[in-house]
Homo-oligomer: 344 residues x 2
DNA sequence: AAGCTCTGTGTAAACGTTTTCATTTTGAAT
DNA sequence: ATTCAAAATGAAAACGTTTACACAGAGCTT
């Protein structure tokens, strides 16, 4: 059926040299004589030899694999981050193994074990939580782990994030500048650091403008369109207490709010201003195009893998004591879903 | 720094048995005595032993890895397919390694080499093209490869797809049923089998309705929103030759067409009906909600991995001679972007 | 001509498993 | 008690590499 796959021994025999020489000819060409190098080359070509990567890795005690933990691959938000990571990794000769944790601590633990069992050389966490086995590691042990997207408070591992607090502040500020004073915020799920930070920025902006925070104007969602619709329906139901602007922690929820607003016959932005977060491709093509905080997702990924490879290459420990997390800048993209506060 | 990781030898020493016994205690518990089994268990716990997967795989001559070739991870379309594949694979104890080929034949070849070099046990192709090294394999060699999403004509490998021709036929048919006769089609890029099949279904529906095909009504896009906008602007520019309905090969392009239509002041669906393809989450939340062909992406992934695991487990050859490709059903989801043909 | 240093190559160990085969122990049957 | 089969274990080979070490020969310097 499948013809036997050529090993280094076949090549050696074919070239009339030892397997050591074959190995050297491939990996340290300068240490082998011109003549033999050529013999080996032709032997490799003749046998169709491809090194058995597993044997090689066993010997070298590495896996060439970088493990990427994401809470949900199904979520397109991660796609471009992923794309940035994969690009950098593959350039450095690493493969990216994606672990879909589904927010399940058990799965996180399973994947974290890959580091111990030599299935992965390093790990990037996109899920905002340190897997249990890692959390209880000795203090001065620095596992080859980098954190991206969701910072983990109190964790000294290298981290690359956006300034969620500030980004949310700027978004809210934009609405304030337009004259709005009743501004609602639709947040992510509780317990999520993104939620904390973004709600924080929203509150800070209000406070700075001298506006008293109103509990009923902060509504909890889960980043999805559907949760945005639900939030919108709830927030906009009562004509009297209705806000004139909504600041959302995701574009999906912003779209949801707009859907709900249209159900109530509200016009965007004349009757209600809505700002999103992320700047997914669909934000620009929506009706109306959505004002949003652009998150440089690809750069986030690129930075994360860079941080990782730098450490991995130079044996620098995986800590981030003094310099703090790497912050990649966000940008408020103003489109047509926000406008001046309607006159009463 | 990092404490030495425990090997099977450490466990053996700790339990006072041979390494062979440790291995057996773990993998064939029934062949080892109750007493030693327990000794080994406690030794494992005490040493914190985790088997070195690479050594194990080298010995077993497998990698536990399934390679998934996608043209672009950044494209959210693949996320749920991926999710379905990952679920099935991980249940069967396999990991999924994603290879982002960027439609680059060279990268495809690189990844295909993973099969030879024992970095992957099997492969799933989502990119509609057989990597070069595979294509020129001997006739009766059946590499462990499964094809999904984009069928490869003349390739006998197991395949799971939707019936693109039929799905496109049904979508066009829907517009015909609404009384439209000037129906445009925005296709995918040329050379893509999806394009061929979907254009085919569109033409077939028109022909069956006795409508002469019109070259200028078929416009080529690339599945993106932007290409939909461009197509829309071109198709709708001339008020006289303007179609009353557009059938798109992706939801993104449908959204693009709607954006363009609104630029011309056209109302959807009163002035123009638009139907999409895929049923991405945003299709339902768009304004108006988009009529589209739902593609069961997760099931597509699940079927693909099932096909693969069945073959892999039973040593059934990877061919698909008689039974043909597995077809997963699509569904036309009728929303508010399509309506009766406007009276002239 | 003897001693060097290089250069190039081969031998064999090592990486951490699993598994074949041989050997020992157990326990039942005689 | 002796024999035998079955059960449990250990020794060692094997998986395919890389690399430390040893060694041979070539070209120098004395």
């Amino acid at each position: 059926m499948t013809e036997k796959i050529a090993t280094i021994e076949d090549v050696a025999r074919h070239a009339g040299v030892s397997i050591a020489t074959v190995s050297r000819a491939v990996h340290k060409p300068d240490v082998v004589s011109e003549a033999t190098r050529e013999k080996v080359q032709t032997a490799i070509a003749a046998t169709g030899y491809t090194a058995n990567v597993m044997a090689r890795n066993l010997r070298l005690n590495r896996s060439g694999m970088i493990l990427l933990l994401v809470p949900d691959i199904g979520n397109p938000f991660f796609s471009s981050i992923l794309s940035g990571i994969e690009k950098g990794a593959s350039q450095a000769g690493y493969n990216v193994l994606i672990g879909d944790t589904q927010n399940d601590p058990e799965r996180e633990a399973t994947y974290a074990a890959y580091l111990r069992s030599n299935q992965a050389d390093a790990m990037i966490l996109l899920n905002g939580r340190l897997p249990a086995p890692l959390a209880k590691a000795p203090v001065n042990a620095t596992p080859p782990v980098v954190i991206a997207c969701e910072r983990i408070p109190g964790c000294a591992l290298p981290t690359v994030i956006i300034d969620n607090d500030q980004a949310s502040f700027v978004a809210t500020r934009h609405l304030l500048d337009l004259g709005h004073t009743r501004i609602a915020h639709i947040s992510g799920p509780s317990g999520n650091i993104l939620t904390t930070d973004r709600v924080g920025g929203y509150r800070r902006a209000l406070k700075e403008a001298g506006i008293a925070p109103e509990q009923s104007l902060v509504y909890r969602g889960d980043f999805s369109i559907d949760s945005g619709i639900a939030a919108g329906r709830a927030l906009l139901a009562d004509e009297k207490t209705r806000p004139t602007a909504v600041c959302c922690a995701s574009d999906g929820m912003a779209i949801g709010v707009i859907v709900a607003a249209k159900e109530y016959g509200l016009r965007i932005p004349e009757d209600l201003s809505v700002v999103g977060f992320d700047d997914i491709p669909h934000a620009a093509a929506y009706d109306p195009p959505i004002t949003t905080v652009r998150q440089p997702r690809r750069r986030l990924g690129e930075q994360a893998i860079k941080l990782l490879l730098d450490r991995l290459g130079s044996k620098t420990p995986f800590v981030n004591n003094d310099d703090g997390p790497v912050i990649v800048p966000t940008e408020l993209i103003i489109r047509q879903s926000t406008g001046p506060c309607p006159k009463p």
